[in-house]
Subunit: 493 residues, 2 copies
């Protein structure tokens, strides 16, 4: 048991190192030979598949369909929307050639200068441009609207400082791109998808989020409004977990996407776009995990229950296996994913540590004494508490326990956030609380200048203007000018 | 009804044009602004999602897990395996820069020459190299083997002549990459996955396939053996629908992936790789569809049953809708996907044509007379036959009908292949039958020279050396030299 624990830096010593150790030790992901690009290992990918399945069902329930658009975007498309190009042209992978050839001495392959593209192609950093260029041909009349497409895809942004899951050059995500006949409908869609993300974060990831709107300077490049969900990580830092953008008619105009409305008038289509990415796996880790390893919410855990036999000899293992077979069948019948680990080349203690590291929510162990007494040992990963209970009715017990763990880790994260969120009225107190790693609610005068000053002096950004909660006016803590409501400040990932 | 039919070129007039018209008219896919890259539209993507779900379950049942590896591959990786680089360096997208900047006059963005990569990166045409470079760190001992990973991903090959689904620069696929301790195990895996593909093709796509092995000149670049499944399209041409490669120790050696075996000896790991792609959608279309549009096998149809009301007024529609609601609920309860199309801006005749075009396997229609008589009209898409039957028990009837359609279209495709497959003994007869568009079984002397000569003279290639069926030796139809068994020749997509 001691082996992994020793190798995992503790959260208290170095949170950032703990995170990185954990991603590696728990076999979630690793860096690849290509700078900034990660390999998502099977266990990490299994979590992503669980997330995908839930989100995809939620998208379909809200009327969306999946489609697929090209990986490459002509360079000139980026320039069509003035703000968009500012935001995305800076850091992108550029394809300039389409062929390699043998070098003259035959020792390697080199770029064939004869195969230079007339116009360079960009690996999509996001797909608004290529999709709106496509929508132009799909939309003629209001009868063609709304278009409610999503795609699951890889995207690439040439980040200089990368961290597994949290910020990588290539990442996996979904991006929804919708077109509407009216401003109201597009805005409603934008808010609806923020709601879907918030539900997913809270009910599946067990991660409480603040729903809000970004300030102008934190908006998506090309959006009129960016709706966000912001979560608090265990170290008090904020993590932007999902965004939904109201794009107005910016892309409709940039790509000349017009339609005839009900009154026979021509107008530009209205747009939204929204996405979440493999970054959510990083958020999941930093919301719940501990010094023993991952703590996964049961609803997203690839393995929900592990059963480990503790035996002296083959005969005893056979007896335990027989008993366990029934439990496994019953749990599977209840839709619970369960693994019986009877591998004989690893000791029980090693297995205990391994599944703690991997964050399996419930561990059952059965030994010789349990056989005699008709009992089984149950360990819950969130609290690491153990108890021995009758094997009769264990399935129902496990089912309830999984629900309880899901609820408990959400409550724990919520309590932490409540404890570490504070309202302040002076800039001095603000600086102190930001330094302590809190979420700080404070009045701000609404100007980008003040926002910038605060950011430069404290490294805190306005995470969002919250949509819910107190909306009492006040005065800006820095300039004393009027403020409509407190906004959420924090240092962020 | 006439509108679409008129616009769809008939198969007899121009098969190739029929295919292209159908892909467009049925809203499956379209060409994008990026040469050779397609947009997969929602209806086409829904078919791909159905395929993915079935295949993914089959992979998992056979012990595989999903993972994700980088999109970009360092140029030098390609050169490590001599044959592999020959096969893939010729046609690939090359990333040379990682930033754009504003042009001096500010009118556009241009490549920033300061942001040139030290080593160019290639968009993966296939992932053996980057994956085996990763496996080096995953594999130390025989205990780490086998590794059975699959990834769902996009890949890119710079094809000069592209056709929607069949051959595109970017396409979606899955690629399995496995590592084993012994040659036997790797070969067994290779054959097992060929079997999985054959089962998928025949039982889900309703597309009969010939299982075989490729000749040396048709092998995957870097493989010791390529196992294939070959299907006959309606025009008699062959389509390679899936391949599974035994890679020997080629990639183990190229990327120095060694392990300590059970006897303490160091050896290179053995490899397989296998893939199917969105090309299967093209194969599906060309296996079953007709001049009225798509014919989809029920097991892969996004909508299995459509119900259309035929009414004179709102009152009648309400009566029909009430009756239909029960049918819809029952069908859904049986796991059948069903759509009730009561849109009032389209006439029944238009809807009939539309769903025929989209290949919905079963169409139900209910009108005023049906209400009186307690009947419903049933049309099956594969034969276009209609009958009016009692509405009582319709759910059971539909369920059986879907099974029957699945079986019937498979049988029809199998009959066509049987009818259009012939054995010949002379090269003259061979040329004649190839010209007629048949699958031709003939003796070949086993040399690449003869294979090349036949290809140049007839455009026919050896699709495979079949694994099943008659293995009677003979003499090559061209050279008269000995031949171990007949091989399958055809012109191919």
């Amino acid at each position: 048991m001691a082996k992994e624990l020793k190798e995992l830096t503790s959260r208290e010593v170095n949170y950032s190192q703990w995170y990185q150790d954990l991603v590696i030790k728990a076999d979630l992901a690793e860096n690849s030979a290509v700078r900034g690009c990660m390999v998502i290992k099977p266990y990490g990918y299994a979590i992503w598949e669980k997330m995908q399945r839930v989100l995809d069902d939620m998208f379909k329930e809200t009327g969306h369909v999946n489609a697929y658009f090209p990986l490459l975007i002509p360079k000139s498309f980026l320039s069509r929307e003035a703000e968009h190009v500012e935001g995305f042209a800076k850091e992108c992978a550029v394809v300039t050639h389409y062929r390699l050839k043998n070098s003259e001495d035959g020792s390697e392959v080199v770029v064939d200068p004869a195969a230079k593209l007339e116009e360079e192609l960009i690996i999509r950093p996001t797909s608004e441009t290529i999709i709106w260029n496509t929508y132009r041909n799909w939309i003629q009349s209001y009868r063609d609207l709304p278009i409610l497409c999503n795609q699951w895809a890889n995207v690439m942004r040439w980040e200089m400082r990368t961290r597994l899951f949290l910020r990588t050059a290539e990442f996996l995500w979904q991006e929804g791109h919708t077109a509407h006949a009216t401003r109201e409908e597009a805005e409603e869609e934008t808010r609806k998808m923020q709601g879907v993300y918030a539900t997913f974060a809270e009910e599946y990831m067990a991660m409480p989020v603040v729903k809000g709107v970004k300030t102008a300077s934190e908006r998506f490049a090309g959006a009129l409004d960016t709706y966000t969900i912001e979560a608090m990580m265990q170290d008090g830092k904020a993590l932007q977990a999902g965004t939904s953008h109201f794009l107005g008619q910016n892309f409709g105009k940039a790509f000349d996407v017009t339609f005839i409305d009900k009154n026979g008038k021509t107008d530009y289509a209205w747009a939204s776009s929204w996405g979440v990415s493999t970054r959510l796996i990083g958020a999941l880790i930093m919301s719940h995990s501990d010094n023993n390893g991952l703590v996964l919410p049961p609803k997203l855990a690839p393995i929900q229950v592990v059963i480990i036999p503790i035996y002296r000899n083959a005969e005893q293992l056979a007896q335990i296996s027989e008993k366990v077979a029934g439990i496994v069948a019953n749990l599977k019948g209840m839709g619970i994913s369960v693994k019986f680990d009877d591998a004989d080349n690893k000791k029980p203690g090693w297995k205990f540590a391994e599944y703690e590291l991997k964050g399996v929510p419930v561990r059952l162990a059965m030994g010789g004494r349990d056989l005699e007494n008709g009992t089984i040992e149950v360990m819950r990963r969130d609290t690491l508490t153990k108890e021995t209970i009758p094997v009769e009715g264990i399935e129902k017990y496990v089912k309830n326990l999984l629900d309880d763990i899901q609820q408990n880790i959400f409550q724990k994260a919520l309590d932490l956030r409540t404890e570490r969120t504070i309202s302040v009225d002076t800039y001095d107190e603000f600086k102190e609380k930001i330094e302590e790693g809190l979420f700080v609610m404070a009045h701000w005068d609404g100007t980008p200048e003040t926002e910038e000053l605060i950011k430069n002096e404290t490294k805190a950004t306005i995470r969002c203007i919250p949509l819910e909660g107190d909306k009492i006016p006040g005065v800006c803590m820095v300039t004393g000018k009027p403020s409509a409501q407190r906004v959420l400040f924090a240092r962020a990932y």
